[in-house]
Symmetry: C2
């Protein structure tokens, strides 16, 4: 029998890039499912910026950290290869939090069957955590209205690209902030954004002025960084700020301060953070909301696929450099 | 005939204390009401921290600035002395935005009759802008639940003292932040707060730890200042921050930055600013909400009454020093 190659977290990152010594690659036995259990051979696993939070020692966060010695947490997609659970049959295609390993054994809780006739890459790119996050954050927190202006940071990323396309489909003016001209080109010419700003370029404030002459109504924040206060200063009355991610701060010892709250009063702004674990019960509703846009061809995506389990480790650093192009995942 | 002594804004404050040269005291004619108009002799006018915003040149704020040369904006209470408006009779007692002057002429819009058998000081302290602000901010934005912990800054102020008492009546644990031991004593021993912190004392974080060992669920912010990030760091999951005022920043050229948004994500915090002009249409509902607490004796107040129109000018500086004791107003 094969062994289950897995990657465990052995040392928490303390700022700076992720290195090989944060993890250990180990061979675990493959255990056959007991009564009620199901064994899955994972095919693709998702890499997400949220993982930096899961690796930290912060027990006050929205989800407990991964314990040292435990298999690193991740979502993925795979196939049921043995089942003692009446809800799952051999051959079923399922998504769930299966971790950095080839085989996942569980009682079926948290596993969702995938019936959409889409390749794994598309499922992880659109219907997994990023698509659900985009749908929840945009509609429930951002409350977009046709004719408004939305700006989304990390706009070529897995969440941001879907946020922007959903907002376009809803009739908003949509501006994306990205880290390269190639990404700027992609979101405007392929995804249909109205404008893009490369945060590595000059005169950011002038670019904002030009692209959002009437101010900004929804600010979907995935990154943080130097453009944050510039965007914040251009928010309109009753603007909504959806705080979804702050990748620019995850590796910092001392996080960047946020904008003064003076504008929060003057403009009656709402700043709201959210994370998906609070909304796992609403996933069916979110999928129902998201699916018609996908079916109508309004949600394009691209996947950045790394090869082999071990590539996950250094792959995380792509989030810091912004070198990933599209939804980052690992093919096992 | 008497003249209408009025104070007009002639120079916008640019940081630092308010001085006599920001204003001009002028004698205006008293004009008899035309058809539909009503003339009021103002008896008490209210001084509020919001005035610093109204005096600024910021045309992007929630309400247009007072134009240079115009009578300074304020709310007040007085008596109808002439009426050509069928809705108002001579002798009616009314509240409204009458400005820094002895006589107010208007078409009745924005004037509310006062029928409660309470002295002017009590009406301005509880049922005017501060009480409405407290009611709107606490219930609609703060969404308090019995058993939760609330902290309010400016807790001996006109808004904060009512916020805290309403929250106590709703069954919350209530901590107030004030600027003197005398005020700390007043909110605990007279108003029934569970605890008080003098922000001028030492070891603020230890005091917070002691008074809110289970963290903070509602943060009602009236002041800003050095205690803001300490409170923010102690917010619980799903905490609500009601941003009502930032008196510590109003006179600063460069406002203090806010807390990092990392905790906004981790704790799924909502930070929401509000101002009363958005909710003027809801005043009847707010009064209906507030009145039973007042009738049940759950809302105590104290007024700090200055004498004479000209005292309004230097009176504003009491907000910066925190030397006002209770609702600040001017008796005309």
């Amino acid at each position: 029998m094969h062994t289950n190659t897995a990657i465990t977290l052995v040392k928490r990152p303390t700022g700076g890039p992720i290195t090989a010594d944060n993890f250990a690659i180990t061979a675990l036995p493959i255990i056959s499912p007991k009564d009620g259990e199901v064994l899955i051979k994972q095919q693709h696993l998702s890499l997400d910026p949220a993982m930096f939070g899961w690796m930290s020692a912060d027990t006050q966060s929205y989800i407990p950290p991964v314990a040292l010695g435990d298999v690193m947490r991740s979502s993925g997609i795979g196939e049921v290869i043995e089942s003692n659970n009446p809800d799952f049959a051999v051959g079923d295609r399922v998504m769930g939090m299966m971790g950095w390993q080839h085989y996942y054994l569980g009682n079926g809780q948290g596993l969702n069957k995938v019936t959409a006739p889409l390749p794994n890459e598309a499922v992880l790119s659109v219907f997994a955590l990023p698509g659900l996050t985009a749908t929840q954050g945009l509609f429930k927190v951002g409350k977009p209205k046709a004719g408004e202006t939305l700006i989304v940071t990390g706009a070529a990323g897995s969440v941001g690209s879907i946020v922007g396309q959903l907002a376009k489909a809803e009739g908003l003016q949509v501006i994306g902030v990205v880290g390269s001209d190639e990404k700027a080109n992609w979101i405007v010419n392929e995804l249909g954004f109205d404008g893009a700003i490369n945060y590595n370029s000059a005169n950011l404030d002038e670019q904002l002025e030009k692209l959002a002459p009437n101010g900004i109504d929804v600010f979907f924040e995935n990154t943080g960084g130097a453009i944050q206060p510039l965007i914040f200063a251009r928010l309109n009355a009753h603007a909504r700020v959806v705080v979804c991610g702050l990748i620019a701060d995850y590796a910092k010892q001392i996080p960047t301060l946020g904008p003064s709250w003076l504008n929060v009063i003057k403009k009656r702004i709402t700043i709201q953070g959210f994370t998906m674990p609070d909304h796992f019960a609403e996933i069916p509703v979110l999928l129902e909301k998201l699916t018609p846009y996908v079916m109508a061809g309004q949600i394009k995506h691209r996947s950045h696929v790394l090869e082999g389990l071990a590539s996950a480790i250094d792959g995380l650093n792509l989030f810091f450099s912004g070198a990933n192009k599209g939804k980052l995942m690992v093919k096992l």
